[in-house]
Amino acid sequence: MIAPANHRPADYSPKTALQKKLINRPRDVVTESLEGLALAYPNLLNIAYAPPVVWRKDAPVKGKVALISGSGSGHEPLNTGYVGRGMLDAACPGGLFTSPTPDQYVAAMHAVEGGAGALFITKNYTGGLLNMGMAKEMAEDEGFRVQTVLVNDDVAQNDPENRRAMGATVLVEKIAGAAAEESRPLDHVAAIAQQVADQARSMGLALTGCTSPRIGYPTFELPADEFELGVGIHGERGRQRRMLASADAMTEMMLEPIIQDLGLTEGDNVLALVSGLGATPLQELFIVFRHLHHSLAQRGIPVIRQLVGNYITSLDMAGCTITLLKLTPELTRLWDAPVHTAALHW
């Protein structure tokens, strides 16, 4: 016995309980989901399974910096849904909530590098940093040029070193993707990516926990009248539990620290991303966006670009995250540039 038996939901039995999920064997979830993705986007995506890599059908694009991103599975459409023209060249899906391994990035590198080097989009998690760090060393040993951008936008963490990557990941991938598509050199693409990462901040809240199919019971249970403020996208609890409030009030609780931390002031233009965490209807996300838009307008900070929907999720968690990016005309232009992926298209 290495640990005492903890509380588990009363009706949970690891042997017999079938989960309320559309899955076959829990251990096959990631692979089978990738197979479905491949079948759904036959003209857009190539997919390999050992190790798992998803990449653009038209890669390698000669002379273009390759954008490579990875993350645990369970955040869909991140990152597999962002592979395609104008965004990522390859995504490396890990296990459920598990940072992918270095060999995945190296395999991605071989599949998509077009002679202009690669930008690795690194999410600030111990696992993300360590695995990508190793991958970079391995790729460089093979003679590839690699730069990284560090995404750490979560203002729920006071210590900047400890800030998790959240919605800014999507914005970095889109904008750096547009820059790469313009055939800019690796240095430029990396600099733009880092600018986006530096000018974006996020905060999330959860109304429920989420259930990983590998364990079959929720990561946490919340009383009917409470929510978790300051959650990440891995089913973790947040920084604090609070009493439920109106959408407007809860939006304000997320918005305030973001504005503070970004130092937004009257006249700044922003891009807003409101993403559901997986089980929240679109309807509610628009209600959150409505208040966010009004509240920022009242402070003289117009939202001039936005994305509202499920863009970075945490399995079947109810709740949402908010991300704001301080725009410049150049970032706005790159945001508006065409993109052609499974989840983002214009």
Partner: protein, 213 residues
């Protein structure tokens, strides 16, 4: 009394460890569910499966350094998350310390644990008390060094190392996490045993169960 450790023993050690992980994977995951993201057992189990298959394949390996290097690469490419690279660098660095040949001294083993721990700390920047695997490994490394220097047998030395790892693992319960995913919870991480410290204790306990004489 020989205090040597053989390659064959090392193979038993890691097969034993793989068994332990498989047996305790639900517990490791449950511990991670409380303060992390509920995947530590799943990740380690994946690593254990690949490691076992690799050891069974590796029939013509005669050098401990090659063996441990292969284990390291297998863990790095199968565990993922934070634990994969950390256990990976532990074995990678230990392999260099071991050098070629199919037998090493207890003193060398203690040294391997020492440098393995150091490279985990170099990569992860965790210090004692940060509520990580370091809190189980560091006391074990120290106990192993003391017992070795005091001339104890391999069995005795690894037994005290295992006890120290267990005490270190249990000590994580009262700590506030400063590194890794549990640190996101701040003070709410207190009261829960660290999953990585738990799998690290199992690693030392497996060594005690297999490397003695």
């Amino acid at each position: 009394m020989t205090r040597d450790v053989t390659l064959e023993q090392m193979q038993h050690w890691l097969l034993h460890y793989a068994d332990q992980i498989e047996q305790e994977q639900a517990t490791l995951t449950r511990l991670d569910a409380a303060i992390g993201d509920a995947d530590h057992g799943v990740n380690m189990q994946h690593g254990a499966e690949k490691m076992r298959a690799k050891i069974n394949d590796l029939t013509d390996c005669h050098d401990i350094d090659v063996f441990l290097r292969t284990i390291a690469m297998t863990l790095i490419s199968s565990i993922g998350g934070a634990a994969g690279p950390l256990y990976g660098v532990f074995f990678l660095r230990a392999s260099k310390e071991a050098g070629p040949g199919d037998v090493i001294s207890l003193d060398r083993l203690a040294q391997m644990f020492q440098v393995g721990l150091e490279s985990i700390q170099q990569r992860g920047h965790a210090r004692l008390g940060d509520k990580t695997m370091v809190d189980a490994l560091a006391p074990a490394v120290e106990a192993l060094r003391l017992a070795t220097d005091a001339g104890q047998s391999t069995t005795e030395a690894l037994a005290v190392a295992s006890e120290a790892a267990e005490a270190g693992m249990l000590a994580t319960i009262d700590m506030e996490a400063k590194k890794g995913r549990a640190s996101y919870l701040g003070p709410r991480s207190i009261g829960h045993q660290d999953p990585g410290a738990t799998s690290a204790y199992l690693l030392v306990a497996s060594a005690a169960a297999t490397l003695g004489n």
